[in-house]
């Protein structure tokens, strides 16, 4: 299995601060390192700043009026801030954005093909990868000629994933890949992540709410709260942490509780109290 200690660090985030609109401070010093060939999970509640972190890495904050005001992000030792998003994709970093962001007026297949925009290894290779994506997501093959804007939420999520795979990336930043997918498909997607990771050595950094699944597949995890990293460690270790168990996995000492019972009490996060 993957051993974090042995491999080099591919991506390094050093103590970054992100401010939106010049006034809203969202990340208050986040540091992470993503080892090559690993799956790193970024966990945390709503508004913790996961998406913001990913966007900072792929340099997409600019267009949302956000900026990294402190700290640095290094990909293979190079400052990400000096590169354009397109450069990053060419270097092998691609992001699957939260909320799908398909090209609505393009067909499903055209959407997938845009993923291969930066590639120059010929039509045949691209066609081959297209087939690969279709084998991962047979549903997409059925809908290949429909406009993406008219496909269902889950189908769009698949398109977004497939599109990223089409770029033959070295590192994929996945933002909430499981959102809105049927349980069976969630497993499937993570299986794909695992397969791609193991088979092709692609590095993953994924932001996930579905802590349960994420920690099962990831090698390493970070937990963000309110723009700060509050906990990190190997996934297996995090899974066993009682706090994580209680707040992120919904387990108490006596196994999973029914959602019907939660009404009776309110919980507080101990480390934030």
């Amino acid at each position: 299995m993957f051993d974090a200690a042995k491999t080099e660090t591919l991506l390094e985030v050093n103590n970054i601060e992100v401010i939106y609109n010049h006034v809203i401070l969202v990340l208050k010093g986040v540091s992470l390192s993503v080892p090559k060939g690993g799956i790193t999970a970024l966990l945390g509640g709503n508004g913790a700043g996961k998406t913001t972190t990913l966007k900072a890495i792929s340099n997409l904050l600019h267009s949302e009026r956000g900026e990294v005001t402190k700290g640095s992000i290094l990909y293979r030792g190079e400052r990400v801030q000096d590169m354009s998003p397109a450069d990053l994709v060419r270097k092998g970093v691609i992001q699957v954005m939260e909320g799908r962001h398909c090209f609505e007026h393009l067909t499903v297949e055209e959407n997938l093909l845009t993923g291969a925009y930066t590639r120059s290894d010929g039509r045949a290779a691209i066609a081959q990868d297209l087939e690969m994506v279709y084998t991962y997501f047979p549903r997409l093959k059925e809908r290949r000629k429909s406009q993406a804007g008219y496909t269902s939420g889950g189908e769009q999520q698949m398109v977004a994933m497939g599109r990223a795979l089409m770029s033959r990336p070295e590192t994929i930043l996945l933002d909430e890949p499981s959102m809105g997918l049927a349980p069976q498909l969630v497993e499937q997607i993570f299986e794909i992540v695992k397969a791609v990771n193991e088979g092709e050595g692609v590095t993953f950094l994924l932001a996930e709410q579905n802590t349960n699944v994420a920690l099962r597949y990831a090698h390493f995890g970070y937990i963000l709260e309110s723009g700060r990293v509050v906990m990190d460690g190997p996934a297996a270790q995090l899974r066993e942490n009682p706090d994580v168990k209680e707040f992120y996995l919904g387990m108490s000492d006596d196994g999973r509780k029914s959602f019907r019972d939660v009404r009776s009490y309110r919980r507080r996060k101990r480390w934030l109290a």
Partner: protein, 358 residues
């Protein structure tokens, strides 16, 4: 902590939803009103009135009107010039047909007539959206201009088709015509603007305003949660045209005194007012003021600096002025796409935190 809202608690919902919930803001606006009503009328002269204040007040009215349509209801319109023409011709017909009625009534009626016309041209907005609608409203612009140019009844069969505002008074004071004093013009427009701004503010903070904004932000969702798109869009067109019509009536009767439809109410007018709204800030009453002030003052200012100050030839100055205005518009949009109003808001947020950066 120059600007503070902390410690400014509200104990009733009414107080919380008032126009200026923050005390410092309230004081600022009261001060502005005192200056506008208590000081300016006594010092204003013809040049300031005709070159700066009166156009500013009138354009602010038009900008508020358009802002309701574009900024609040999200329906982009390029027909503003045409609707202003309706106001102008309506007030002209009324002034000449009923010389004894106070001019204020005429102006309001002209607004009403414009509202009706606005509703008519607003109907296609039910089907047509976005830029298609914007371009479609040009149909109103061109058709109305053509109509007023073509049908002699509108300009009382005068030889050239020009309309000229006869002298009219209110309480014995000249409001239109060459004998009007600078202060009278200014105050008349100021009073109307104050009323318009208050009405606009009330409408936009209540149910109607929320309907408009819902349609603007996501029309399908709005319809699904119970907003009747027809009535929301139609009221937006009506209210907006009402204000725009008033502005048109004032522009012709109080400010210009004579007008030719194609020139005074052409498509450039539509663009000018849309600019004011966008530079000022979509969906902000304050922004309408700021935008109007900016676009009225800037050319006058530039002209005075370039020609008066540097002594450049007028044509070079005029070309440079175009370039500067154009470039400034672009720069503004880049710096803050949400307009001067948003800049102001950010400035306030910064002041509130001062001296801390966040």
């Amino acid at each position: 902590m120059f600007y503070r809202e902390a410690g400014d608690f509200k104990t009733s919902y009414r107080a919380d939803s008032q126009t200026f919930p923050i005390r410092l803001d309230r004081m600022g606006y009261v001060a502005a009103l005192v200056v506008a009503y208590g000081i300016v009328p006594f010092v204003i002269d013809d040049y300031w009135a005709n070159a700066v204040f009166v156009p500013f007040l009138i354009y602010a009215i038009a900008a508020i009107g358009l802002n309701i349509l574009v900024g609040y209801a999200g329906q982009v319109s390029l027909g503003t010039g045409g609707f202003m023409a309706v106001g102008a011709y309506a007030v002209y017909k009324l002034m000449t047909a009923f010389p004894d009625v106070p001019i204020l009534i005429h102006v309001l009626l002209a607004g009403g007539i414009t509202a009706a016309v606005g509703v008519l041209f607003g109907l296609p907005s039910l089907r047509i959206k976005g830029f298609y609608l914007a371009v479609a409203t040009l149909a109103a612009q061109f058709f109305l201009v053509w109509l007023f140019n073509k049908v002699p009844w509108f300009y009382n069969y005068s030889a050239s088709g020009q309309i000229t505002a006869p002298e009219r008074t209110m309480f014995g004071i000249f409001i239109t015509g060459a004998q009007t004093t600078a202060a009278a013009k200014y105050l008349f427009c100021l009073i109307i603007l104050t009323l318009v701004a208050l009405m606009a503010r009330n409408l936009t903070r209540g149910t109607v305003g929320r309907k408009w904004m819902a349609i603007r932000d996501m029309d399908i969702a709005a319809e699904i949660i119970g907003v009747n798109p027809l009535s929301a869009k139609v009221t937006a067109f009506a209210v907006s045209s009402f204000f725009i019509g008033i502005a048109g009536a004032l522009l012709f009767s109080v400010y210009l005194g004579a007008a030719e439809v194609g020139e005074a109410f052409g498509i450039n007018k539509s663009f000018l007012i849309l600019f004011m709204v966008i530079i000022g800030g979509l969906g902000s009453i304050f922004g309408s003021f700021a935008g109007a002030a900016f676009l009225v003052l800037l050319p006058v200012f530039l002209k005075n600096v370039l020609v008066g100050g540097f002594g450049w030839p007028t044509d070079v100055a005029a070309h440079l002025e175009l370039m500067i205005v154009g470039a400034l518009i672009v720069v503004f949009l880049i710096v803050e796409p949400h307009g001067l109003a948003q800049l102001w808001r950010i400035a306030k947020e910064k002041l509130r935190l001062w001296p801390f950066p966040h």
